[in-house]
Amino acid sequence: MTSTGRLTASELKAQERAAKAAEKARQKRIAADEKAERKRAAKNGFSNPANPTRSIGLTVVCAIFAIYCLFPFAYLMINATKTQADFTSTFGMGFGKTFALWDNIVTVFTYQDGIFGRWFINTILYVVVGAGGATLLAIMGGYALAKFRFPGRNLCFAIIIGAISVPGIALAVPQFLLFAKLNLTNTPWSMIIPSLVSTFGLYLMWIFSDQAVPDELLEAARVDGAGEFRTFFQISLPLLAPGIVTTALFAIVATWNNYFLPLIMLKDSNWYPLTIGLNQWKDQASTAGGQAIQNLVITGSLITIIPLVISFLCLQKYWQSGLAAGAVKE
């Protein structure tokens, strides 16, 4: 943290006022320019990035890609409506003889004394604490790496890349031994602590901090006497919003879908996340003497995806490019 402390409070205020006035004038100018530009572009038939003409051709191409992305979901949805008997006997992309979606949903939540609900709550706990923490740590770490010079920065980079190049599967056993030694296996901590590290998030934040936050802006703020924390929260944070959202989303999905780690760490089904629980149900069909419940697995998978879709929809407004642009003008 640095603090210049050379300017008195009143001087600072005066400066601020002057800056605000100048900024207002500038914005007016920009708005006028934009207006004129839009007019001119419309007249000349030039494309205008602020308000482009929509292209049908491009939409069609993207639509083909969207079909590729979405048709497996059709499979999931169709099969969620089938009974177990229909699942094995009817064609995969066609509906079954009975429409059992509601029955399936009810059974998913009541099967084995409603353990699915417990798994659901566990997963949310892991995501909120684990992914939330991971995002926070990644922001702090990435920002620090990008914006502060300290010796060994390149070394950090090499170490992290090296560490994630080690196949995770080989690390599972040592990780398990370490956690067992600390009596953390079979507790939520064994899930949450490893989730706190999102190396990818760290890099993302590193790059974003580098690109989206101009050093000049930080210099200016520092000269103005703003502390590092204030600079970070008032200037950098808004600029980083799209990156933060991306990092958060990745951390959420990664934690939500984490499979291998809980498989090793947790043996108490009361602490299972959804992935392990669903897989246990799937395995039941291939266990000697076990009952096949693929209808529940499919319906459960569908239910598992829904919260991720909702969180995506909630977060997506942060990607609108206007946000970053607006911040720069400040």
Partner: protein, 278 residues
Amino acid sequence: MWPFAVVFIFVFIIPICYAIYISFFKKQMIGGTKFVALENYQRLLVDQQFWSSVGRVAIFTIFQVPVMLFLAAAMALALDSMKLHGTKFFRISTFLPYAVPAVVSTLIWGFVYGAKYGLVGSFNSFFGTHIDVLSPDVLLAAIANINTWEFTGYNMLIFYSSLSTIPHSLYEAASIDGASEWQIVKSIKLPELKGSLAITVIFSIIGSFQLFNEPSILQNMVPGNAITTYYTPNMYAYNLSFSGNQSNYAAALAIVMAIITMAIAYIVQLKSMKEQMK
């Protein structure tokens, strides 16, 4: 920085040190654990199963990563151009596959690929063809398709969010100068993508060298056991460690894999990435 470092050391560095440590030992059912120095590494050098699995993921990487990243970048540019009808719909539809757990997506694609009861089967009986995407020759491509499906949206999002940090004033300035859409893409957007491209390339390479989930779930669905227990290095390590009681050898394998992966990532991209982060 330090909170990240603490957790990182706890979760990664210590286990890695331990893995290196045990890679110099050998645990046997008869005779217990003994120090064997580099024996595990020597054995690895001449282990054909290991090298065949490395070759397989290398081929996989060469083809899958460029295709996936090209699709992701193209889609990000298309979304960012604001020339699409229903941008929001396309944004979520591209991303959605990433939200599906690997277990479920492999299950779904397993059905699609099924030559008897799956979609490919229906296609065959309808057109009288004999396509079998799970035959050993094209199996790797079939797995690559699953991975592309899963991770295009993921990479798209990285590109897209990096594009959305470009200040609009830049575009305005460009269009005042009379730059065409293509020129904007070429001289503003593509350079902006460079930074995120470097990181996506490295992470994609690492990801595909650690290929595990998709082949191991497909294993039971593929006829003729075309997916062996040493199909990818990670699967080999897993089987050595968990069904072969050779976790020391598996640790040595993991270390060697890490070195190979790092070397390749370095050759391909590290330099440009370092420049990016100077």
